[in-house]
């Protein structure tokens, strides 16, 4: 089973990359773009058929390594198809 971890900077943490990209977009004629923030996607194959069990394992991976809770929030979702 494949699960996707979406990692985002927490609200309130300044995203300097996002700001730089937003400025570049403005230079390309997308000056109307609102807030823009950069995150990370990690896709991981976990053995087994139970979504709940797989989520629990990926949650544990996030707590132990994938996410730094001081800076980041995350969400886990199954990859369909």
């Amino acid at each position: 089973m494949r699960l996707r971890v979406l990692i985002r900077l927490k609200p309130g943490i300044m995203d300097v990359q996002g700001t730089a990209i937003q400025r570049a977009l403005a230079g390309l004629g997308f000056g109307d773009v609102g807030d823009l923030r950069v995150g990370k996607v990690i896709e991981v194959d976990v053995p087994g058929d139970s979504v709940d069990a797989a989520r629990r394992r990926v949650d544990e991976m996030c707590r132990k390594l994938l996410v730094n809770p001081i800076l980041e929030d995350y969400a886990v979702e199954p990859v369909v198809g």
Binding site: I13, M14, V16, Q17, K64, L65, N68, I70, L71
Partner: protein, 237 residues
């Protein structure tokens, strides 16, 4: 006094620290490979700068869970001291041995330049040779050195006098212009509550001989040396 210099794949300041401890400080020193868990016989463990494990995922994230860093918790609890510079500071934060986190410089640039640090806490094994307010000159060389901590952590750092160095002007003024990376409150280096683990973004090993342009970094290692007392423990002040 025996020093250990930890080597991860991608560490780059290991030889510099080894050289300074051995040839300038004249103390026994050995390299410690990242897979080792045995830190017995050492008094001070150094985590040097570099790009451990390529800094994949986050700077210091993978190294922060490595066998040698897992062993570092017990080493410190049993009376040892640990010093992390640059990537070493990132690793200490990622491992939880120090609070807070280091993130991308606010300017988005990799900064390689001379900085001035004002000393706030001289009651640690790393700073006991310094005066409060003393300004040290040391280089930085990093892209992810912006120290970040929430309000609660920051309050705790202040309560326990854990902020050791702040980026400042040459005359010791803590200003926004003197902050090279956007660190919260100009924080350049902190210790744990006990004062036995120091993490800082600047490179003391690159300011340890006159030929390097300055010797202020050596004061940190000399402080550690002067803090070890005969029973094998460390003076806090």
């Amino acid at each position: 006094m025996k020093f250990g210099v930890v080597v991860f794949p991608g560490t780059w300041s290991d030889c510099d620290f080894h050289y300074v401890v051995s040839e300038v400080l004249h103390q026994p020193v050995k390299y410690v490979w990242h897979r080792e868990r045995d830190l017995s016989g050492l008094d001070c463990v150094i985590l040097p700068g570099g790009f451990s494990y390529g800094d994949y995922l986050r700077a210091g994230a993978v190294a922060g869970r490595s066998p040698v860093v897992e062993a570092l918790g017990d080493f410190v609890a049993n009376g040892g001291v640990a010093l992390g510079s640059c990537n070493g500071f990132q690793i200490l934060c990622e491992s939880g041995l120090l609070p807070g986190a280091l993130m991308r410089n606010e300017c988005l640039q990799y900064r390689c330049e001379t900085t001035h640090l004002v000393t706030e806490n001289v009651e640690t094994p790393f700073t006991r040779l310094l005066r409060p307010g003393q300004v040290l000159t040391m280089p930085i060389s990093h892209g992810e050195g912006k120290y970040q901590a929430d309000a609660e952590t920051l309050a705790r750092l202040k309560k326990h006098h854990q902020i050791v160095f702040r980026y400042a002007t040459a005359d010791g003024q803590v200003t926004r212009a003197a902050n090279p990376n956007g660190s919260i409150e100009n924080i350049a280096g902190i210790v744990n509550e006990e004062g036995t683990v120091l993490g800082l973004m600047p490179h003391p090993e690159r300011a340890s001989e006159t030929a390097m342009g300055g010797t202020d970094g050596l004061l940190i290692l000399q402080s550690v040396l002067g803090s070890l007392v005969e029973d094998g423990g460390f003076l806090k002040r």
